[in-house]
Symmetry: D2
Subunit: 191 residues, 4 copies
């Protein structure tokens, strides 16, 4: 089984990270994975607040997204760098989705998952500083983050009008690391 | 000048980190600082979204909070650990507040500030894992984070009914590090 | 194939981390892996120095150790916490072993390897702070570090005279994470 | 008082980081600080080993270097990136120098010190990845690491034959951050 959930950590309509996430989704499909791409704007949720959770339980969007997470064993995240780290909206989504309900074991949604991290930014470093903390955080919640990662610098010049990576070398890097990622999931057959 | 802004990274009414932030605010006042305590719930803001910012500019709560940040040279943050890292709501607040408007120089709100980090959690580690990433992120946005930090474990048993730390050693640690922090700000007279 | 190289990051004769590494080596054998345990004192090497490398090439101990690394696809490292990080001697060993010779591709020794991280210390945190940087560093040199990790606090009281973990829960945690680690290597059959 | 100890984390004779350290030493002198530059090769020491320490105490070079550290309140470290992190020889030096002797309080050598971090590398990132862990480690041993830092990419082309930075912008950045660093030390008059 190689079912991969792909998303970006930003909500802007023309987000470079959404474009990169879509490129990765296509690469994963070509590599033989079942792929689900989603946009954080489809799952609006309030800021996590313990009182709200106690009073009302998980918001409906959170429940739906949790179910989607559970149906996949791989994550590909294209994460923008905001203030040298991941975005608040990405973290808030992870915070809600990580909450237990009923008899669910702790971290049921993340445990045993594998993740591949990407980033894009108009700057020279391509958002790579933001992946340091994201990698560390995901590891701490039981996700195996593969060492391959790709950061696209000068992202405003990196994609053609169809949203494809223009640079042949970057495209090949993305395809290779996505293929390797898909193959790891197939071999492990993690549930 | 020693003007310190104190807040917690969670919004729950009975948040342990709010209690800890208030203890620190009192300690800073006793040490001779001008102190402003605020609660993130007083400044509700949407998730940061680049399209929203382009269309409407900064939300009014963000503008107000930015002004408050600018009037202080020290930050004391009591940061809960959510999934081994800072909370989404804290990061979202920082992401909004860091945005430039008009002729403002980059990171005008954070540059030259000093910060003291605290955490509280019901667990055995007191939320200290979450401070690793917070320290790194704040450093990257030009905040000098002092090396002292305090993590209160078993936070549900740590405060009395007046919200004061019960453990004399912890109380002294907090008072000492807050006093040192205030003295650094006084000596530097950072604007 | 599941061939695992096990070692500790300290050289002291009665090192707690050596004891822990040996426990892990036994657990890995019981889980069906081929296991090689070695002691850093068996491979003494100078401090890495670029001039020395240029003048004399890799020291003989480094060459031997590189060959041993290449014959394994898994690493289990019990890493002491020195000044909140990994030890200088561990880093120096990794620095030497990572050096290319001849036609070798970059990072030939680390690429595609999987690692499981452990730590032990007399303190209350068991050396877990030191694993943050080790995890990050190994990821950056193409090692997949599994999210499971174990930190043994109060290490001076944690082992019996045969060097076995006294606490049944810790022993089971170690056995379970080692078994899972061995199974991942078997499934992946990484070369 | 503004007494600054400047050194590089590598031992190679023509080390780019030594050149950068010397540039910073000159900048600090021009800014009015008392500056001591030293080379790690002047203080050769064995790998830290607890048994060796117990049997023989601190090596003479370690004792001498500890005394030098104690006479300064600022550190400027130009740290090469080895395997995405600081070098083994730098960490080993810090590990030895941090050891207590006699009635010395814990971390006497590092507590209350301020540090400015630099890096140089032939690569495109200039060694900046290695500063992440160094910053975190130094903070954990009670050093206040200022947020300014400078990473010199393409270091093999960055210096003239007198070892001076060729790029006017980089030179100004170094001078500005060094001046600010010196001024912080003067204002704080940390002992």
């Amino acid at each position: 089984m190689s079912k991969i959930l792909v998303f970006a950590g930003s909500t802007r309509k023309d987000s470079f990270n959404k474009r990169l996430a879509k490129c990765a989704a296509n690469a994963a499909k070509s590599a033989g994975a079942e792929v689900t791409y989603f946009d954080l704007t489809e799952y609006p949720m309030p800021m996590y607040d313990g009182d709200l959770e106690t009073a009302e339980g998980l918001p409906e969007t959170v429940r739906k997204l949790k179910e989607i997470f559970k149906q996949h064993n791989g994550l590909i995240i294209a994460s923008p760098e905001y203030n040298s780290s991941f975005s608040g909206v990405l973290k808030n989504t992870i915070d809600w989705v990580s909450r237990q309900e009923g008899q669910e074991p702790s971290l049921a949604v993340f445990k045993n998952k594998y993740a591949l991290l990407l980033s894009a930014s108009p700057g020279a470093l391509g958002g790579l500083r933001g992946l340091v903390g994201l990698r560390s955080m995901l590891s701490n919640i039981q996700v195996t983050v593969v060492p391959d990662q790709l950061s696209i610098s000068k992202a405003h010049e990196a994609f053609n009008e169809n949203g494809e990576l223009l640079d042949a070398k970057q495209l090949q890097q993305l395809n290779t690391m996505t293929l390797n990622f898909v193959n790891v999931l197939k071999k492990l057959d993690v549930k």
